[in-house]
């Protein structure tokens, strides 16, 4: 541009293109940041889920003494589902194990549900009465396992935080 008017227009275009470029760069920066945070959350959730799965699996394999017979918690759940007997024994063992585990670990709350033909256990255990925090802000932390029963299956759902 050789004339005076044209000579002033070019710097104005440069200025606005710089503004637009900076706005786009800021937008890209925030998109990357949000994406990275989301990836990190996914990895954290996966790690937490992996721990919950291990804890549930080992909890179900824990051996307990029932009338002089050694059986696992999973066996006891199946037994309770079958004839309703030993429900108190199951609740007492479950409370003992999970309460002691919470007391001696970093976790604050545990939730376990087992449902066969009818609900078998529905339990929410908190570390101690002084704990004021909230539990299970993230519903994704629930894991489940299935146990066999004559017609269908027993579903055990578990979450820990």
């Amino acid at each position: 541009m050789k004339n005076k008017k044209g000579g002033l227009t070019a710097p104005l275009i440069d200025f606005w293109s710089l503004v637009v470029f900076l706005l786009v760069a800021i937008a890209v920066f925030f998109i990357i940041k949000i994406q990275a945070e989301r990836n990190e959350l996914i990895i954290n959730d996966e790690a937490a889920l992996s721990d919950s799965k291990k804890i549930l699996q080992n909890f179900l394999r824990t051996e307990v003494d029932v009338d002089g017979k050694t059986m696992t918690i999973a066996d006891l759940i199946i037994l309770v589902d079958h004839d309703g007997g030993y429900r108190e024994k199951l609740i007492a063992e479950k409370n003992k194990i999970l309460t002691e585990f919470l007391e001696n670990s970093k976790y604050n709350c545990a939730e376990i549900y087992a449902t066969g033909k009818n609900p078998i256990i529905e339990s929410h255990i908190i570390k101690d009465r002084s704990f004021k925090g909230s539990c299970f802000s993230n519903v994704k932390k629930t894991v489940s396992a299935t146990l066999p029963r004559q017609d269908g299956k027993i579903t055990v759902k578990f979450a820990i935080e």
Partner: protein
């Protein structure tokens, strides 16, 4: 505008354009570096993979059921719970990437045994370890895991496995 005025105007104009170009390069460089560093945060996954290798490996700490001929992850054999087993299972030739301690407690919180993997680096890194995202670039990242497990010492008992996995910030 006379010829002299036009030349000085053009000079200022081009200086402005070079400044614009410089800002452009800097901003693109910064955004690219952010993108790269965001993609490289893999320490949590590394610690998770390491823990799973120790937890699930049949040659590490798991109890081996002779009758069924299988190793049972989640049940820790106290005889296998030692440094040598973990080191032979993982087989790093020169390990300056990861160190860890595993402490086994009974359900009442009484310590049964502690095993330290890569002790030389663990002792070096532990005092400067911080949780991921905290501490400077010279710090090391520590990841803590606490799992309800069973341990075997003639019979299976409930216990708690606490692991501290430390990785340097490379």
């Amino acid at each position: 505008m006379d010829k002299k005025g036009l030349i000085s105007f053009n000079m200022v104009y081009w200086i402005g354009r070079f400044a614009f170009l410089l800002i452009l390069v800097l901003v693109v460089g910064y955004v690219v570096s952010r993108y790269q560093s965001a993609e490289l945060k893999t320490r949590l996954s590394e610690s998770e993979a390491f823990f799973n290798a120790v937890y699930y490996s049949p040659d590490a700490i798991s109890y081996f059921d002779v009758e069924k001929g299988i190793s049972v992850p989640g049940i820790i054999d106290l005889e296998n719970f030692n440094e040598e087993r973990i080191e032979s299972a993982l087989n790093y030739e020169k390990n300056d990437v990861i160190a860890a301690s595993f402490s086994l407690f009974d359900l009442n919180g009484k310590l049964i045994k502690t095993v330290v993997y890569n002790k030389e680096k663990y002792d070096l890194w532990k005092p400067i370890s911080k949780p991921e995202g905290k501490g400077g670039i010279g710090a090391t990242s520590v990841f803590e895991k606490e799992i309800y497990v069973l341990y075997f010492n003639g019979k299976t008992n409930p216990g708690i496995l606490k692991a501290e996995i430390i990785l340097p910030r490379r």
